[in-house]
Symmetry: C2
Amino acid sequence: MISEDHPRYHSLRLREMIVDAWQRGILADSGMIAHGRGEAFDYLLGEETTKPAERAIRAAAAALLLARKPVLSVNGNTAALVPGEMVKLARELKGKIEINLFHRTPRRVKLIEEVLRDKGADEVLGVDKLTHIDGIMSPRATASPDGIYSADVVLVPLEDGDRTEILRKSGKTVITVDLNPLSRTSRMASISITDNIVRAVPAITASVRELRGSEREELERILEEFDNRENLRETIKLLDIRRYNPEL
Amino acid sequence: MISEDHPRYHSLRLREMIVDAWQRGILADSGMIAHGRGEAFDYLLGEETTKPAERAIRAAAAALLLARKPVLSVNGNTAALVPGEMVKLARELKGKIEINLFHRTPRRVKLIEEVLRDKGADEVLGVDKLTHIDGIMSPRATASPDGIYSADVVLVPLEDGDRTEILRKSGKTVITVDLNPLSRTSRMASISITDNIVRAVPAITASVRELRGSEREELERILEEFDNRENLRETIKLLDIRRYNPEL
């Protein structure tokens, strides 16, 4: 157990959750390494939701509210860190949840389905037969026919760049959460939220609640005014690490 | 197997070595996450040995050559990535190798000892009874009486900040290899090499060979001219990530 007084308590707590999920078989080995990369970028961002991230979160909420069929994708790291928050957001949107694993084994799918059901999910997609988006015969292109395959707006946190590109090319609005603003995922997505998933998902839910009563025109305006490329550019400016160590 | 044509071949190859070492029990779980953090910083440094890193490597070689008793410390990540290079450097210096693990179990010590002996190490310290530096009763302060405890110059790659501080306070010259120039380890060390260990260790060996014939005064001059704080400051400037994505 980590003391709450430890200066890196929150970061170490997430690390414990990741190791625990991996021990339970939810996370692939590569998921641990990916978490470490995220830690480094979060550290450089000051471990807080930046202004550009707030704008991306608001745009994501607007896109999800405008969606005909929003689908939320859950992978190992997402299941490790925010399973309950994903279920809550899906409920708020009356959207679907789909398990999406690159290192896919029946056991991992089953374990993650259990975690999501434990957190109150009624329906979990991606556990049965999958189809290939645009007929692309790659494990990066698989999706549930009733879920991501037929969705117009997808939230795919901690996603791979190739898959993000495939989803984008198929005409979907793709929302990602990724701590590296330079990653292919961040550059390929329609709306890139450069933030820690443990902060971003509850913030999207809060924003969905806040915007719920808005006119369609107002939501469309929020989306139109959001420029993902410009937003990433501003995020990258904030990653200037010199400011984190004025002593040096 | 990863294709050599893959744009991230070298990085993915190291990732495979890390996962393999962890599967063999050499690496603690936290070592995988730590590798991910290193990956992120290496990416921001352009995955090459920078000019400041070259200077730190040269200063490290001078310090090791001037040492009365140089000792090289090996932990799980070091054993996973550069066991043979560490043995080679120890031989070049007629220095000792000591296993130093925070998540210490007899099994991991044994496995790492085997890896080092496989690579040609005659003597491996840190496998028997340890003593506490300056009487500090912390697992971060343990060292072999015949190794780090009585060394004047230690190379402790991928080290923890607290332990680096303890080693420094005990009066030793502490050389680290750490990809995060802002880490406590980097700030606490006498000579901080901000570089990937797979590039840094062979480079130290090459520099030791090059400087081997130098006069003592010349080596002392190299050390005196090296300013660790200034060197870290220059490294941090190089981490300005905007330059890595001119498109944005």
